[in-house]
Symmetry: C2
Subunit: 448 residues, 2 copies
């Protein structure tokens, strides 16, 4: 009898559990062990700010528990189990049980590394004080919720103006807190056109969230007062979201190829090590428009990486089509979306590019409810090839980013976008959809 | 000095006014005359049911008035002026002024025919009674609104279960009327999969609209009682929407090519007559998936036909990419959308096709507001080429039809759709968007 395939997966969130599930689905006999250093697997991390704001049960974010993976899918999920090293030559993972503090080894035929990323904590004095949080894993959300319930804080200072703190700002306002966001850089959402980040700034202001940029944090004192170059901010709740870094410290010094800490993979999610795959927030991912790897740690990307990497571990030969860099978030009543490249990113990457920005209604002329969106198309001069798009505006209208994501995947030009047969119905879209309005405008610039 | 180009446009709605505007934009010196038999040009006809239901001012549907076209764009718009014949050999249009009942001729160098369609009125006894309406042009909406205000009707019978009467049903309920829909055929929305029209039937029922199919109307009596093979229905308001037919009676007997009454055009919107273009509800239009002309009278199609036909009249050489057959409407809280072909249409057109239907949530796992949509993908066996899609469900989720419309334009296969980098954000979409869920399911059927 043939020996069953031994698969080890490091990390039990989106990428890891997708990979594990794919292997088990394709090879029933495989022995799949997942080691996860936290207490949770497979949960919707992006939902955490809303779970806090809407005061929902934290367990609603859990898609499947470790037990369910065992009983329903036959996957041996080991919680509180941290991979502390890999011996690629002998195909062994060294695991530390955080409960017992003992170490043991797991032998693999195939290994998937989906160890994720962790919140980057800048060296701020007082960052470890009680009442100072980060929001990266489910236990962070549990801690924040318990603190809010217990202390009923009234004044939040959010350090960093990325998606997480923007979404958290909305949700803390939902809990009637005062919110100040302090950002180190001179602007926010720098990967968007200025006209678009302006809308977000206005929406924050309109909703009573104070945003201050160009802020150097000096310290957070014991009473949670945040001292900065732009004054002192009283707080009884602080969240730090200053970016993430790949969880790959345990791989440093091994022969696996890393780039700025992220694991280098090909379009099959293979690493440079034989039989070793990687994906999700710990790894790079192929970008279809740039035609090279980038670091873009997002849930969608992690799920796809796990799914395809897992299938390939099980013998498939699936090439990843690549991301186009689609992002979307809500800030109060506005949606903010991007796909592909901004004008600056396009130019920095060697494209001879231009941008066209329009504002247009999202429902038909004369329809009682009139929303508006601002749309930016970035395209190549001459060919008119679409390189990117951004949409900001009333949240019911920003879904149109998926039209542009699909157009980017398909390598469409502005001329093609003009020809799209988009849906028209008064409650949903005007007869000339805003995307078409923008394309009709952009076409004039293609041959300039 | 060169003689200015003389352009005549028959019909002043979407197609005609778009064509006229394109010519004037491209050739400032052109003399552009539009003859329109009605009292309005350029209005949002699809908004009429909502204008009635929300009791908005009827003028809100007007995009530009005839006067504005004259003063802002230099177009000579003649209202209440009906084209009654065309002498293609001598390039003359015979026009009857409906105000003065006089006839005169207009000579053209280029002619655009955008005469639209009119409501098809089945030969029902009593169809001309007071209180029996159709809803095709703005004057119809004016008459209905005046009648509703004056008579305050309580019981509506809507004859025909197409989009117009479905949208009208919702809006008459908004005005607290009882609504019964009588449909001649044995089902509704026959160009959708049965599972999808079922959802519409349930939504009508849930909102207290009675739908009866297989109904032959015998007569509408003087008190508006509607007598049928399925009983009598009391009413104080009746609307008949039993389809439309091209407004081309004035062309019968001329050498211009018609197919079932609709003008035959090529992908440049040229007719078989030299220097004569046509588009909109009076003409056929090129369908990209079927690779042939179809009759699909929709506002979006008319606008594109006018825009491209007009550009070509002014010397451009723009080939129309073709429609993919996208339609969308709302019925109470549900949206109903389609693009491309249904399974039956695909098979009838010679494709070896299959369909995959899934139901999936429209927001992230654990997000407080959970909507649902049902999605159908129709694709070709073997190649997996997408042939069509349908979406029905909570109205905030059906915009995804535009992803499929873009995919159809781009000739994507199921495999490609799996690879789309669609947006993910808890309030807007789950990490696996319903479109991806459906593609992940459909891929299993591609090679069966």
């Amino acid at each position: 009898m043939e020996r069953p395939l031994k698969v080890v997966v490091i990390g039990g969130d989106a990428a890891g559990m997708s990979a594990a599930s794919q292997v088990k689905r394709r090879i029933k006999s495989a022995e799949v062990i997942v080691v996860e250093k936290g207490r949770d697997v497979s949960y919707g991390a992006c939902g955490m700010p809303y779970n806090i704001g809407y005061q929902a049960d934290i367990d609603e974010l859990v898609v499947l528990t470790a037990d369910e993976f065992k009983t329903k899918r036959g996957i041996d999920v080991r919680l509180l189990s941290e991979a502390v090293g890999v011996d690629f030559n002998n195909r062994k993972v060294k695991v530390r049980s955080l409960a017992s503090d003992r170490e043991y080894e797991l032998v693999y035929d195939k290994l998937f590394i989906g160890s994720g990323a962790e919140a980057f904590l800048p060296p701020i004095e007082g960052a470890a004080n009680e009442g100072v949080f980060k929001l990266k894993v489910l236990d962070d959300a549990r801690r924040i919720k318990a603190y809010i319930e217990d202390k009923k804080p009234k004044k939040a200072v959010l350090i960093g103006a990325g998606f997480i703190n923007l979404e958290l700002a909305e949700n803390l306002k939902r809990l009637s807190m005062e919110v100040v966001i302090l950002e180190k850089l001179d602007g926010i959402l720098l990967n968007f056109e200025d006209e678009f980040s302006e809308v977000v700034k206005e929406e924050l202001s309109r909703n009573g969230v104070e945003l201050i940029t160009g802020v150097d944090i000096e310290k957070i004192d014991g009473s949670l007062k945040v001292k900065t170059n732009k004054g002192e901010f009283e707080a009884d709740f602080v969240n730090i979201a200053a970016g993430v870094k790949p969880n790959t410290d345990f791989l440093v010094g091994t022969p696996i190829e890393l780039e700025k800490g992220a694991i280098v993979v090909d379009r099959y999610f293979r690493t440079n090590m034989e039989s070793v795959y990687a994906g999700g927030d710990c790894a790079l991912i192929y970008h279809r428009i740039l035609n090279r790897n980038v670091y873009m740690p997002l849930g969608t990307n992690a799920n796809k990486a796990g799914r395809i990497g897992g299938a390939n571990m099980a013998g498939a030969n699936e090439e990843f089509a690549g991301i186009v860099g689609t992002i979307l978030f809500r800030i109060f009543d506005k949606g903010v979306a991007k796909t592909g490249l901004s004008l600056r990113e396009a130019i920095d990457n060697g494209f001879d590019a231009f941008k066209t920005i329009i504002e247009a209604p999202t429902t038909a002329h004369g329809f009682p409810h009139q929303g508006k969106v601002k749309i930016c198309l970035v395209a190549e001069k001459g060919s008119g090839r679409l390189l990117g798009g951004q949409i900001v505006g009333d949240s019911e209208g920003v879904w149109r980013i998926d039209i542009l994501a699909t157009a980017l995947y398909s390598n469409l030009a502005i001329k093609d976008i003009q020809g799209l047969d988009l849906a028209y119905s008064p409650p949903f879209a005007p007869v000339w959809d805003p995307i078409l309005v923008c394309a009709n405008q952009a076409i004039k610039q293609v041959r300039k």
